[in-house]
């Protein structure tokens, strides 16, 4: 199964919002994935196929084996859907 991390600074609020919307978008596309939300330091030592995060934190995740997908507006389902379409092979 696809493993996806949604990453923010603390792994409490921002990343949870991103996870809710990423899960919703994936569900609508019929993509099954294990999605977790987590803070940036824990994420760097976790395996994943894809990592959703903000522009600001993407730099700290450079070198991670997962492909980094940047989302600017966490409440914009259009942007999140496009990010999935452009990055995740279906």
């Amino acid at each position: 199964m696809l493993k996806i991390l949604c990453v923010c600074g603390l792994g409490q609020g921002t990343s949870l919002i991103l996870r809710m919307n990423v899960e919703q978008a994936l569900g609508e596309k019929g993509i099954t994935a294990d999605v977790e939300h987590i803070d940036v330091s824990a994420a760097s030592s976790m395996d994943a196929d894809y990592i959703f995060t903000s522009n600001e934190l993407a730099e700290s995740l450079q070198g991670h084996t997962g492909k980094i997908i940047i989302v600017n507006n966490y409440f914009d389902m259009t942007e999140i859907n496009e990010a999935i379409d452009n990055n995740i092979e279906q």
Partner: protein
């Protein structure tokens, strides 16, 4: 859980820095005894350490810290800034709508976040939040009857 209740909302607050905006929004959680005062310091520390990643949509900031930083109850306050302020977010500055989140480790945290997502995923709601003039209008937006 306390989500955008009357005493957790302040409209058109005049601040001159992101730190001041975070203090005002966090201060509402403290004065309602939903978090300890040190939670506000932790929010500011996180901003210093991790940058403005919590400016998670155009004009919207959601400062928060960790449950162990002194959260008593899952909660969210809302402060609308009189003049938008730059938080340093390349994609989403300037910020006008600030939601301070009292991040609890309880199940209520998830419920509260769902309410916030339901409110803010709708661009029409976000536009209205910039224009509302009373608590009652906000209540209508979040579909709550007192």
């Amino acid at each position: 859980m306390k989500f955008l209740e009357r005493n957790l909302i302040a409209l058109d607050v005049d601040v001159s820095s992101p730190e001041e905006a975070i203090r005002v929004a966090g201060g509402l959680l403290v004065s309602e005894e939903l978090t300890e005062p040190r939670y506000v310091d932790a929010m500011l520390e996180s901003y210093q350490k991790n940058g403005p990643y919590f400016v998670l949509a155009p004009q919207i900031a959601m400062p928060h810290a960790r449950p162990e930083d002194g959260v008593k109850e899952a909660s969210a306050s809302f402060v609308r800034l009189q003049k938008p302020i730059a938080f340093g977010s390349e994609a989403n500055d300037p910020v006008q709508l600030v939601f301070a989140l009292g991040a609890s480790s309880s199940d209520e945290h998830l419920l509260l976040m769902k309410q916030l997502v339901m409110l803010l995923n709708n661009p029409a709601h976000v536009e209205k939040l910039k224009q509302v003039t009373s608590y009652e209008e906000i209540q209508t937006l979040i579909g709550r009857n007192e």
